[in-house]
Symmetry: C2
Subunit: 232 residues, 2 copies
DNA sequence: TGTACATCAGTGAACGCGCGTTCACTGATGTAC
DNA sequence: TGTACATCAGTGAACGCGCGTTCACTGATGTAC
Protein backbone atom coordinates (compact mmCIF):
# COMPACT_ATOMS: atom_id res chain seq x y z
CA UNK A 1 0.00 0.00 0.00
CA UNK A 2 3.02 2.30 -0.03
CA UNK A 3 2.16 3.61 -3.50
CA UNK A 4 -1.31 4.86 -2.64
CA UNK A 5 0.41 7.03 -0.05
CA UNK A 6 1.28 9.52 -2.79
CA UNK A 7 -2.28 10.47 -3.57
CA UNK A 8 -2.71 12.66 -0.55
CA UNK A 9 -0.16 15.14 -1.84
CA UNK A 10 -0.87 15.00 -5.59
CA UNK A 11 -4.64 15.20 -5.24
CA UNK A 12 -4.99 17.77 -2.52
CA UNK A 13 -8.72 18.28 -2.69
CA UNK A 14 -9.71 20.19 0.41
CA UNK A 15 -12.44 17.57 0.77
CA UNK A 16 -9.82 15.05 1.80
CA UNK A 17 -10.40 16.19 5.37
CA UNK A 18 -10.17 12.56 6.41
CA UNK A 19 -6.38 12.86 6.31
CA UNK A 20 -6.20 15.89 8.56
CA UNK A 21 -8.87 14.53 10.90
CA UNK A 22 -6.76 11.41 11.35
CA UNK A 23 -3.64 13.50 11.93
CA UNK A 24 -5.40 15.67 14.53
CA UNK A 25 -6.71 12.69 16.45
CA UNK A 26 -3.39 10.83 16.22
CA UNK A 27 -1.44 13.87 17.42
CA UNK A 28 -3.56 14.21 20.54
CA UNK A 29 -3.85 10.53 21.39
CA UNK A 30 -0.17 9.81 20.82
CA UNK A 31 0.76 12.73 23.08
CA UNK A 32 -1.62 11.51 25.76
CA UNK A 33 -0.85 7.80 25.76
CA UNK A 34 2.31 7.21 23.74
CA UNK A 35 2.70 5.52 20.38
CA UNK A 36 2.52 1.86 21.34
CA UNK A 37 -0.35 2.44 23.73
CA UNK A 38 -2.55 4.16 21.13
CA UNK A 39 -4.48 1.85 18.83
CA UNK A 40 -5.60 2.66 15.30
CA UNK A 41 -9.10 1.88 16.47
CA UNK A 42 -9.01 4.66 19.06
CA UNK A 43 -7.56 7.10 16.52
CA UNK A 44 -10.10 6.37 13.80
CA UNK A 45 -13.03 6.38 16.18
CA UNK A 46 -11.99 9.74 17.63
CA UNK A 47 -11.50 11.08 14.10
CA UNK A 48 -14.88 9.69 13.06
CA UNK A 49 -13.45 7.76 10.11
CA UNK A 50 -13.25 4.13 9.11
CA UNK A 51 -10.59 1.93 10.68
CA UNK A 52 -9.12 1.04 7.30
CA UNK A 53 -8.66 4.70 6.38
CA UNK A 54 -5.30 4.93 8.17
CA UNK A 55 -3.79 2.14 6.13
CA UNK A 56 -5.42 3.51 3.00
CA UNK A 57 -4.03 7.04 3.38
CA UNK A 58 -0.77 6.43 5.22
CA UNK A 59 0.12 2.83 4.49
CA UNK A 60 0.83 1.78 8.06
CA UNK A 61 0.84 2.93 11.66
CA UNK A 62 4.56 3.71 11.39
CA UNK A 63 4.01 6.03 8.48
CA UNK A 64 1.12 7.72 10.27
CA UNK A 65 3.46 8.50 13.17
CA UNK A 66 6.02 9.98 10.80
CA UNK A 67 3.32 12.05 9.09
CA UNK A 68 2.28 13.57 12.42
CA UNK A 69 5.85 14.81 12.91
CA UNK A 70 6.26 15.96 9.33
CA UNK A 71 3.17 18.15 9.54
CA UNK A 72 4.77 20.14 12.36
CA UNK A 73 8.45 19.92 11.57
CA UNK A 74 8.33 20.76 7.85
CA UNK A 75 6.96 24.29 8.30
CA UNK A 76 9.04 24.74 11.47
CA UNK A 77 12.30 23.83 9.75
CA UNK A 78 11.35 25.90 6.71
CA UNK A 79 10.93 29.01 8.87
CA UNK A 80 13.98 28.23 10.98
CA UNK A 81 16.09 27.76 7.88
CA UNK A 82 15.18 31.23 6.63
CA UNK A 83 16.15 32.80 9.93
CA UNK A 84 19.44 30.88 9.86
CA UNK A 85 20.16 32.25 6.35
CA UNK A 86 19.92 35.73 7.78
CA UNK A 87 22.19 34.95 10.76
CA UNK A 88 24.76 33.26 8.55
CA UNK A 89 24.99 36.26 6.28
CA UNK A 90 25.73 38.68 9.09
CA UNK A 91 29.15 40.35 9.38
CA UNK A 92 31.82 39.22 11.85
CA UNK A 93 30.99 41.87 14.42
CA UNK A 94 27.24 41.35 14.53
CA UNK A 95 27.20 37.62 15.23
CA UNK A 96 24.13 36.37 17.13
CA UNK A 97 24.55 35.99 20.89
CA UNK A 98 23.69 32.91 22.91
CA UNK A 99 20.45 34.58 23.89
CA UNK A 100 19.63 35.34 20.24
CA UNK A 101 20.06 31.70 19.33
CA UNK A 102 17.85 30.52 22.19
CA UNK A 103 15.10 33.06 21.57
CA UNK A 104 15.21 32.12 17.88
CA UNK A 105 14.03 28.61 18.70
CA UNK A 106 11.25 29.88 20.94
CA UNK A 107 10.13 32.30 18.23
CA UNK A 108 9.81 29.67 15.55
CA UNK A 109 8.34 26.96 17.75
CA UNK A 110 5.57 29.25 18.88
CA UNK A 111 4.95 30.47 15.33
CA UNK A 112 3.99 27.14 13.77
CA UNK A 113 1.15 25.66 15.85
CA UNK A 114 -2.41 26.97 15.75
CA UNK A 115 -2.76 27.19 19.51
CA UNK A 116 -0.82 26.92 22.75
CA UNK A 117 -2.46 23.55 23.31
CA UNK A 118 -1.10 22.29 20.02
CA UNK A 119 2.38 23.51 20.89
CA UNK A 120 2.27 21.66 24.19
CA UNK A 121 0.99 18.57 22.43
CA UNK A 122 3.80 18.66 19.96
CA UNK A 123 6.45 19.16 22.60
CA UNK A 124 5.16 16.03 24.30
CA UNK A 125 5.49 14.18 21.01
CA UNK A 126 9.06 15.38 20.56
CA UNK A 127 9.99 14.16 24.02
CA UNK A 128 8.29 10.83 23.37
CA UNK A 129 10.19 10.49 20.12
CA UNK A 130 13.46 11.19 21.89
CA UNK A 131 12.72 8.57 24.49
CA UNK A 132 12.12 5.89 21.88
CA UNK A 133 15.22 3.80 22.04
CA UNK A 134 15.53 1.87 18.85
CA UNK A 135 12.56 2.94 16.82
CA UNK A 136 12.22 3.91 13.20
CA UNK A 137 11.10 7.35 14.31
CA UNK A 138 14.36 8.65 15.71
CA UNK A 139 16.28 7.57 12.61
CA UNK A 140 13.66 9.10 10.35
CA UNK A 141 13.78 12.45 12.15
CA UNK A 142 17.57 12.54 12.31
CA UNK A 143 17.82 11.82 8.60
CA UNK A 144 15.11 14.22 7.49
CA UNK A 145 16.06 17.27 9.51
CA UNK A 146 19.81 16.81 9.95
CA UNK A 147 20.80 19.71 7.69
CA UNK A 148 18.88 22.45 9.51
CA UNK A 149 19.91 20.95 12.83
CA UNK A 150 23.60 21.07 11.96
CA UNK A 151 23.39 24.66 10.70
CA UNK A 152 21.75 25.70 13.95
CA UNK A 153 24.37 23.90 16.02
CA UNK A 154 27.19 25.59 14.13
CA UNK A 155 25.82 29.03 14.91
CA UNK A 156 25.12 28.07 18.52
CA UNK A 157 28.68 26.86 19.00
CA UNK A 158 29.91 30.11 17.45
CA UNK A 159 27.88 32.04 20.01
CA UNK A 160 29.12 29.92 22.92
CA UNK A 161 31.92 31.22 25.11
CA UNK A 162 35.47 30.04 24.60
CA UNK A 163 35.93 26.71 26.35
CA UNK A 164 36.89 23.17 25.42
CA UNK A 165 34.66 21.88 22.61
CA UNK A 166 33.64 18.87 24.64
CA UNK A 167 32.45 21.09 27.47
CA UNK A 168 30.27 23.02 25.01
CA UNK A 169 28.97 19.72 23.70
CA UNK A 170 27.80 18.54 27.09
CA UNK A 171 26.27 21.86 28.04
CA UNK A 172 24.27 21.95 24.83
CA UNK A 173 22.87 18.59 25.77
CA UNK A 174 21.97 19.87 29.23
CA UNK A 175 20.04 22.66 27.50
CA UNK A 176 18.34 20.26 25.15
CA UNK A 177 17.26 18.04 28.02
CA UNK A 178 15.91 20.89 30.10
CA UNK A 179 13.91 22.16 27.13
CA UNK A 180 12.41 18.84 26.13
CA UNK A 181 11.43 18.01 29.68
CA UNK A 182 9.99 21.39 30.58
CA UNK A 183 7.97 21.73 27.43
CA UNK A 184 6.67 18.21 27.33
CA UNK A 185 5.64 18.38 30.97
CA UNK A 186 4.40 21.94 30.63
CA UNK A 187 0.70 21.40 31.35
CA UNK A 188 1.44 19.49 34.57
CA UNK A 189 4.12 21.93 35.69
CA UNK A 190 1.97 24.96 34.92
CA UNK A 191 -0.87 23.52 36.95
CA UNK A 192 1.43 23.03 39.95
CA UNK A 193 2.80 26.57 39.57
CA UNK A 194 -0.72 27.96 39.61
CA UNK A 195 -1.80 25.86 42.57
CA UNK A 196 1.29 26.52 44.72
CA UNK A 197 2.21 30.09 43.73
CA UNK A 198 -0.98 31.42 42.17
CA UNK A 199 0.87 32.32 39.01
CA UNK A 200 -0.67 31.51 35.66
CA UNK A 201 1.52 31.97 32.61
CA UNK A 202 1.50 30.75 29.02
CA UNK A 203 3.99 28.25 27.70
CA UNK A 204 5.87 30.87 25.74
CA UNK A 205 6.54 32.79 28.95
CA UNK A 206 7.95 29.62 30.53
CA UNK A 207 10.17 29.10 27.52
CA UNK A 208 11.50 32.66 27.84
CA UNK A 209 12.30 31.96 31.49
CA UNK A 210 14.64 29.25 30.32
CA UNK A 211 16.82 31.60 28.29
CA UNK A 212 18.74 33.37 31.09
CA UNK A 213 19.06 30.09 33.01
CA UNK A 214 20.59 28.37 30.02
CA UNK A 215 22.78 31.26 28.96
CA UNK A 216 24.20 31.49 32.50
CA UNK A 217 24.78 27.76 32.59
CA UNK A 218 26.61 27.91 29.28
CA UNK A 219 28.83 30.71 30.55
CA UNK A 220 29.55 29.13 33.92
CA UNK A 221 33.22 29.10 34.85
CA UNK A 222 33.93 31.61 32.10
CA UNK A 223 35.60 34.82 33.25
CA UNK A 224 33.58 37.72 31.89
CA UNK A 225 35.62 40.92 32.12
CA UNK A 226 33.58 43.98 32.94
CA UNK A 227 30.23 42.49 31.97
CA UNK A 228 29.78 40.14 34.88
CA UNK A 229 26.41 41.49 35.95
CA UNK A 230 24.67 42.46 32.72
CA UNK A 231 24.48 39.16 30.96
CA UNK A 232 20.74 38.86 30.66
CA UNK B 1 -2.75 -13.66 42.62
CA UNK B 2 -1.83 -10.58 44.62
CA UNK B 3 -1.52 -12.60 47.83
CA UNK B 4 1.15 -14.99 46.53
CA UNK B 5 3.25 -11.89 45.94
CA UNK B 6 4.20 -11.79 49.60
CA UNK B 7 6.13 -15.04 49.57
CA UNK B 8 9.16 -13.60 47.89
CA UNK B 9 9.93 -11.42 50.88
CA UNK B 10 8.86 -13.71 53.72
CA UNK B 11 10.63 -16.75 52.35
CA UNK B 12 13.83 -15.24 51.14
CA UNK B 13 15.70 -18.40 50.35
CA UNK B 14 18.73 -17.46 48.29
CA UNK B 15 17.59 -20.20 45.93
CA UNK B 16 14.76 -17.96 44.79
CA UNK B 17 17.11 -16.60 42.14
CA UNK B 18 14.20 -16.78 39.72
CA UNK B 19 12.93 -13.51 41.13
CA UNK B 20 16.19 -11.63 40.68
CA UNK B 21 16.82 -13.19 37.26
CA UNK B 22 13.44 -11.89 36.15
CA UNK B 23 14.19 -8.46 37.61
CA UNK B 24 17.57 -8.29 35.87
CA UNK B 25 16.12 -9.23 32.50
CA UNK B 26 13.15 -6.91 32.90
CA UNK B 27 15.36 -4.00 33.90
CA UNK B 28 17.49 -4.32 30.78
CA UNK B 29 14.72 -5.03 28.31
CA UNK B 30 12.45 -2.28 29.63
CA UNK B 31 15.32 0.21 29.35
CA UNK B 32 16.06 -0.91 25.81
CA UNK B 33 12.55 -1.10 24.39
CA UNK B 34 10.15 0.57 26.80
CA UNK B 35 7.48 -1.01 28.97
CA UNK B 36 4.70 -1.57 26.44
CA UNK B 37 7.11 -2.83 23.80
CA UNK B 38 8.63 -5.48 26.04
CA UNK B 39 6.67 -8.72 26.32
CA UNK B 40 6.70 -11.08 29.27
CA UNK B 41 7.78 -13.75 26.83
CA UNK B 42 10.97 -11.89 25.97
CA UNK B 43 11.70 -11.21 29.63
CA UNK B 44 11.21 -14.80 30.76
CA UNK B 45 13.14 -16.25 27.86
CA UNK B 46 16.08 -13.91 28.50
CA UNK B 47 15.92 -14.79 32.21
CA UNK B 48 15.73 -18.48 31.38
CA UNK B 49 12.58 -19.02 33.40
CA UNK B 50 9.05 -20.14 32.66
CA UNK B 51 6.59 -17.67 31.19
CA UNK B 52 4.17 -18.13 34.08
CA UNK B 53 6.84 -17.31 36.65
CA UNK B 54 6.26 -13.56 36.33
CA UNK B 55 2.62 -13.81 37.26
CA UNK B 56 3.46 -16.30 39.95
CA UNK B 57 6.07 -14.13 41.67
CA UNK B 58 4.84 -10.63 40.90
CA UNK B 59 1.14 -11.02 40.17
CA UNK B 60 1.07 -9.04 36.95
CA UNK B 61 3.21 -7.14 34.46
CA UNK B 62 2.32 -3.86 36.19
CA UNK B 63 3.61 -5.12 39.52
CA UNK B 64 6.78 -6.42 37.88
CA UNK B 65 7.45 -2.93 36.55
CA UNK B 66 6.97 -1.45 40.01
CA UNK B 67 9.26 -4.08 41.53
CA UNK B 68 12.04 -3.11 39.11
CA UNK B 69 11.85 0.46 40.40
CA UNK B 70 11.54 -0.54 44.02
CA UNK B 71 14.71 -2.60 43.85
CA UNK B 72 16.71 0.50 42.94
CA UNK B 73 14.79 3.24 44.68
CA UNK B 74 14.38 1.64 48.09
CA UNK B 75 18.10 1.48 48.91
CA UNK B 76 18.67 4.79 47.13
CA UNK B 77 16.06 6.61 49.18
CA UNK B 78 17.25 4.90 52.33
CA UNK B 79 20.79 6.21 51.82
CA UNK B 80 19.58 9.62 50.70
CA UNK B 81 17.34 9.90 53.73
CA UNK B 82 20.30 9.35 56.08
CA UNK B 83 22.32 12.06 54.37
CA UNK B 84 19.34 14.41 54.60
CA UNK B 85 19.13 13.75 58.35
CA UNK B 86 22.67 14.98 58.68
CA UNK B 87 22.05 18.11 56.59
CA UNK B 88 18.86 18.93 58.47
CA UNK B 89 20.65 18.78 61.82
CA UNK B 90 23.35 21.23 60.79
CA UNK B 91 23.55 24.67 62.37
CA UNK B 92 22.28 27.81 60.69
CA UNK B 93 25.69 28.93 59.50
CA UNK B 94 26.78 25.63 57.95
CA UNK B 95 23.79 25.05 55.68
CA UNK B 96 24.53 23.00 52.55
CA UNK B 97 25.23 24.97 49.39
CA UNK B 98 23.56 24.48 46.03
CA UNK B 99 26.60 22.49 44.96
CA UNK B 100 26.41 20.31 48.07
CA UNK B 101 22.82 19.44 47.28
CA UNK B 102 23.59 18.56 43.67
CA UNK B 103 26.66 16.50 44.47
CA UNK B 104 24.65 14.69 47.14
CA UNK B 105 22.35 13.27 44.48
CA UNK B 106 25.25 12.18 42.31
CA UNK B 107 26.91 10.52 45.30
CA UNK B 108 23.91 8.43 46.23
CA UNK B 109 22.87 7.54 42.70
CA UNK B 110 26.31 6.20 41.91
CA UNK B 111 26.47 4.34 45.22
CA UNK B 112 23.48 2.05 44.69
CA UNK B 113 23.99 0.22 41.37
CA UNK B 114 26.49 -2.59 40.93
CA UNK B 115 28.02 -1.13 37.78
CA UNK B 116 28.05 1.95 35.59
CA UNK B 117 25.99 0.02 33.07
CA UNK B 118 23.30 -0.59 35.66
CA UNK B 119 23.26 3.06 36.61
CA UNK B 120 22.75 4.06 32.98
CA UNK B 121 20.04 1.46 32.63
CA UNK B 122 18.22 2.75 35.63
CA UNK B 123 18.44 6.36 34.50
CA UNK B 124 16.79 5.30 31.25
CA UNK B 125 14.03 3.67 33.25
CA UNK B 126 13.50 6.81 35.30
CA UNK B 127 13.19 8.91 32.17
CA UNK B 128 10.79 6.39 30.65
CA UNK B 129 8.70 6.47 33.81
CA UNK B 130 8.56 10.25 33.69
CA UNK B 131 7.43 10.19 30.09
CA UNK B 132 4.54 7.88 30.85
CA UNK B 133 1.54 10.11 30.73
CA UNK B 134 -1.23 8.51 32.67
CA UNK B 135 0.22 5.28 33.88
CA UNK B 136 0.02 3.58 37.22
CA UNK B 137 3.79 3.90 37.50
CA UNK B 138 4.05 7.66 37.98
CA UNK B 139 1.40 7.65 40.67
CA UNK B 140 3.03 4.70 42.41
CA UNK B 141 6.44 6.39 42.48
CA UNK B 142 5.06 9.73 43.60
CA UNK B 143 3.16 8.11 46.41
CA UNK B 144 5.95 5.82 47.58
CA UNK B 145 8.85 8.26 47.60
CA UNK B 146 7.10 11.57 48.22
CA UNK B 147 8.49 12.05 51.73
CA UNK B 148 12.18 11.86 50.86
CA UNK B 149 11.54 13.91 47.74
CA UNK B 150 9.91 16.70 49.72
CA UNK B 151 12.67 16.77 52.32
CA UNK B 152 15.26 17.07 49.57
CA UNK B 153 13.34 19.86 47.87
CA UNK B 154 13.06 21.81 51.11
CA UNK B 155 16.83 21.77 51.60
CA UNK B 156 17.42 22.58 47.94
CA UNK B 157 15.12 25.59 48.11
CA UNK B 158 16.91 26.68 51.27
CA UNK B 159 20.21 26.55 49.38
CA UNK B 160 18.83 28.44 46.39
CA UNK B 161 19.53 32.16 46.05
CA UNK B 162 16.94 34.70 47.07
CA UNK B 163 14.44 35.12 44.27
CA UNK B 164 10.70 34.72 43.73
CA UNK B 165 9.60 31.22 44.74
CA UNK B 166 8.04 30.58 41.35
CA UNK B 167 11.35 31.37 39.64
CA UNK B 168 13.09 28.81 41.85
CA UNK B 169 10.34 26.34 41.03
CA UNK B 170 10.87 26.63 37.30
CA UNK B 171 14.63 26.48 37.56
CA UNK B 172 14.49 23.32 39.61
CA UNK B 173 12.44 21.78 36.85
CA UNK B 174 15.01 22.87 34.27
CA UNK B 175 17.62 21.07 36.36
CA UNK B 176 15.48 17.97 36.68
CA UNK B 177 14.91 17.85 32.95
CA UNK B 178 18.57 18.30 32.07
CA UNK B 179 19.51 15.51 34.48
CA UNK B 180 16.93 13.02 33.32
CA UNK B 181 17.73 13.59 29.68
CA UNK B 182 21.50 13.53 30.01
CA UNK B 183 21.58 10.44 32.14
CA UNK B 184 19.03 8.48 30.21
CA UNK B 185 20.76 9.28 26.92
CA UNK B 186 24.20 8.88 28.44
CA UNK B 187 25.43 5.89 26.42
CA UNK B 188 24.53 7.55 23.12
CA UNK B 189 25.94 10.93 24.14
CA UNK B 190 29.13 9.41 25.50
CA UNK B 191 29.68 7.55 22.24
CA UNK B 192 29.30 10.80 20.26
CA UNK B 193 31.68 12.60 22.62
CA UNK B 194 34.28 9.92 22.11
CA UNK B 195 33.86 9.86 18.33
CA UNK B 196 33.90 13.64 17.84
CA UNK B 197 36.26 14.80 20.59
CA UNK B 198 38.19 11.65 21.46
CA UNK B 199 37.22 11.99 25.09
CA UNK B 200 36.08 8.96 27.02
CA UNK B 201 34.61 9.55 30.46
CA UNK B 202 32.43 7.63 32.88
CA UNK B 203 28.86 8.63 33.61
CA UNK B 204 29.75 9.95 37.04
CA UNK B 205 32.15 12.43 35.46
CA UNK B 206 29.39 13.65 33.15
CA UNK B 207 27.09 14.05 36.13
CA UNK B 208 29.72 16.15 37.89
CA UNK B 209 29.97 18.35 34.80
CA UNK B 210 26.34 19.23 35.31
CA UNK B 211 26.84 20.69 38.75
CA UNK B 212 28.49 24.03 37.85
CA UNK B 213 26.16 24.41 34.87
CA UNK B 214 23.11 24.00 37.05
CA UNK B 215 24.40 26.05 39.94
CA UNK B 216 25.16 28.93 37.59
CA UNK B 217 21.73 28.62 35.99
CA UNK B 218 20.09 28.73 39.39
CA UNK B 219 22.02 31.86 40.32
CA UNK B 220 21.47 33.67 37.03
CA UNK B 221 20.31 37.25 37.46
CA UNK B 222 21.30 37.12 41.11
CA UNK B 223 23.77 39.79 42.22
CA UNK B 224 26.65 38.05 43.97
CA UNK B 225 28.63 40.53 46.02
CA UNK B 226 32.33 39.84 46.14
CA UNK B 227 32.06 36.15 45.21
CA UNK B 228 31.18 36.56 41.57
CA UNK B 229 34.02 34.48 40.19
CA UNK B 230 34.48 31.71 42.73
CA UNK B 231 31.15 30.03 42.57
CA UNK B 232 32.23 26.61 41.39
C1' DT C 1 -24.84 15.59 -25.18
C1' DG C 2 -24.48 10.75 -23.95
C1' DT C 3 -22.06 6.56 -22.87
C1' DA C 4 -18.15 3.59 -21.27
C1' DC C 5 -14.43 3.32 -18.56
C1' DA C 6 -10.83 4.53 -15.15
C1' DT C 7 -9.63 6.45 -10.90
C1' DC C 8 -10.18 7.57 -6.48
C1' DA C 9 -11.92 7.86 -1.32
C1' DG C 10 -13.87 5.30 1.73
C1' DT C 11 -16.07 0.90 3.83
C1' DG C 12 -17.28 -3.55 6.44
C1' DA C 13 -15.78 -7.66 7.73
C1' DA C 14 -12.56 -10.71 8.41
C1' DC C 15 -7.60 -12.40 8.96
C1' DG C 16 -3.76 -14.23 11.73
C1' DC C 17 -0.77 -13.04 15.42
C1' DG C 18 1.21 -11.98 19.78
C1' DC C 19 -0.13 -10.62 24.02
C1' DG C 20 -1.06 -11.04 29.38
C1' DT C 21 -3.14 -14.17 32.11
C1' DT C 22 -5.01 -18.54 33.97
C1' DC C 23 -5.18 -23.25 35.56
C1' DA C 24 -4.41 -27.88 36.64
C1' DC C 25 -0.42 -30.04 37.62
C1' DT C 26 4.44 -31.79 39.42
C1' DG C 27 8.09 -32.41 42.51
C1' DA C 28 10.84 -30.86 46.25
C1' DT C 29 11.07 -29.31 51.01
C1' DG C 30 9.44 -28.44 55.66
C1' DT C 31 6.46 -29.70 59.65
C1' DA C 32 3.54 -32.45 62.97
C1' DC C 33 2.81 -36.53 65.38
C1' DT D 1 12.93 -42.74 62.89
C1' DG D 2 8.95 -43.05 59.82
C1' DT D 3 4.73 -41.47 57.79
C1' DA D 4 1.08 -38.10 56.33
C1' DC D 5 0.23 -33.76 55.09
C1' DA D 6 0.90 -28.84 53.86
C1' DT D 7 3.39 -25.48 51.55
C1' DC D 8 5.94 -23.74 48.17
C1' DA D 9 8.47 -22.83 43.43
C1' DG D 10 8.00 -23.75 39.14
C1' DT D 11 5.75 -25.73 34.69
C1' DG D 12 3.23 -26.63 30.10
C1' DA D 13 -0.51 -25.70 27.67
C1' DA D 14 -4.22 -23.32 26.72
C1' DC D 15 -7.47 -19.17 27.08
C1' DG D 16 -9.67 -15.06 25.13
C1' DC D 17 -8.68 -10.52 23.54
C1' DG D 18 -7.19 -6.59 21.05
C1' DC D 19 -4.11 -5.49 17.72
C1' DG D 20 -2.41 -3.95 12.76
C1' DT D 21 -3.41 -5.22 8.41
C1' DT D 22 -5.85 -7.02 4.29
C1' DC D 23 -9.32 -7.53 0.78
C1' DA D 24 -13.27 -7.48 -1.95
C1' DC D 25 -16.42 -4.11 -2.51
C1' DT D 26 -19.28 0.49 -3.23
C1' DG D 27 -20.30 4.87 -4.95
C1' DA D 28 -18.86 9.30 -6.53
C1' DT D 29 -16.13 11.97 -9.76
C1' DG D 30 -13.30 12.81 -13.82
C1' DT D 31 -11.98 11.71 -18.66
C1' DA D 32 -12.20 10.00 -23.56
C1' DC D 33 -14.69 9.43 -27.63
Amino acid sequence: MASSNNHSSTRTNTRSSTVSRILDAAENLFAQHGFAETSLRSITSQAGVNLAAVNYHFGSKKELIQAVFTRFLDPFCQRLSERLDEFENRGKNEQPTLEDMLHLLVDEMTAVPHSTAQLETFMRLLALAYNQTQGHLKKYLELTYRDVFERYMKLLIGAAPTMPAVEIYWRINFILGASLFTMSEAPTLQAIAERDYGIQEPLESVMRRMVPFMAAGMRSGQVQLGQALQQD
